[in-house]
Amino acid sequence: MRITDFDLYRDILKGQMGMALRPQQAFLIDSRLLPVARKWGYNNLQTLAVALRAMPEPALLRDVTEAMTDTETRFFRDETPFAQLRDIVVPALLNTRARKKRLRLWSCGCGTGQEAWSLAIALKDIPELAGWRIDIVATDIATDALDYAARATYAQFEVQRGLPIDRLIKWFDQDGKSWRVRDELRRLVHFESFNVVRDDSADMGLFDIVMFRHVLDHCEDDTKAVALENVAAALAPDGFMLTGPAENPPGLTDWLLPLPDSDGLCVLGDAAFSAESA
């Protein structure tokens, strides 16, 4: 690949989604964008690059961006955030939401949906939440991944990644070699497209819990704070955000205050309240 073409794709990904593309990731361009080139009738990546320079159609830009998005995930990924949810977040919200008995959650960067279903399972398995209304909004930039997530049907190999057998047989129906999420969970989750850099979270309403993990890993440094603050703006004043430990390093933003020794669990910081009252 020519260096100028690498620069073109790097600029597109940064402009569209704040994603960082490093030289050592150049091989990803070949493997992921060749199918896009062929879909659009271009023989190779050089002609795709020419087309992108000449007439960058929004639909083509979207296909390029989605193809480069990492949507791989698993059920109950990392375990820690789900332990925090059970041991810290839900006990606090059981008190503060006792009257409304309603929780709104946002799985931001949900990929193929395993995180959203894991959240639904985790909350449904907490007896104290019986009778509560739970709404989970799951978003991603990649529409193919969202379509897959909304089908709520996973291969045998996928359900074995992170899902204990007792939860599999409790919350999934078997359909041959596939496993389908039960209606009781499907009613809790809906999927929609959202770009953390370009879309405004004000349109999403306020959430009690936001899961925002393994998204900023792929972002350029100067867009991390923008994305974090955009997502944090959708957090209820006494809500909780669960980030990856390395995704909200000290000094990145004053909008989020990591709880002590909490491995990425945050509440809103003073700057968020100042911004709201400004």
Binding site: Q160, R161, P164, I165, L168, Q174
Partner: protein
């Protein structure tokens, strides 16, 4: 049993490493599956032994109860289910965590295995990632899956 088989059987039942804290018994009639599973478990730090059917596995457990058993279902002489029932009836038979590892993937069979005392269930084919997660789920391994 001739000398060659006696020697090989003893080799299969003998753990390879002396300085690990947990032991794993791989029970499967496929030599290839046993080899793959053993490699995965040893990479996780387990001392491994192998058995090619439930009967040999029961003998091995009577001699030394492992911490975790990776157990096939369909085997000659004694199936995984028969072995599991015998294991749970043994003194100290509740110590071993049992992870079924089988092509039997129907929901009814999963329920049956859990009722018989299995702790986790792997539907073949499997890889190291899945074994690590299942061993973590049953509490015999604390690494990162």
């Amino acid at each position: 049993m001739d000398g060659y088989n006696q020697k090989n059987r003893q080799k299969r039942l003998t753990v390879r490493s002396e300085d690990v804290s947990k032991s794993c018994l791989v029970v499967d009639d496929s030599r290839v599956v046993r080899k793959v599973a053993r490699r995965i478990a040893e990479d996780m730090g387990f001392a491994c032994a192998e058995a090619e059917n439930g009967e040999i596995a029961a003998e091995a457990c009577a001699e030394s109860m492992p911490d975790v058993i990776l157990l096939d279902w369909n085997m000659p002489k004694m199936s995984g289910m028969e072995f599991l029932e015998r294991l749970r009836a043994m003194d100290n038979g509740g110590h071993a965590r049992v992870v079924l590892c089988t092509t039997e993937s129907d929901m009814d069979n999963i329920h049956r295995a859990l009722r018989a005392g299995a702790d986790e269930y792997i539907m073949k084919p499997f890889d190291g990632d899945i074994v690590r997660q299942k061993f973590s789920a049953v509490g015999v391994w604390e690494g990162t899956a």
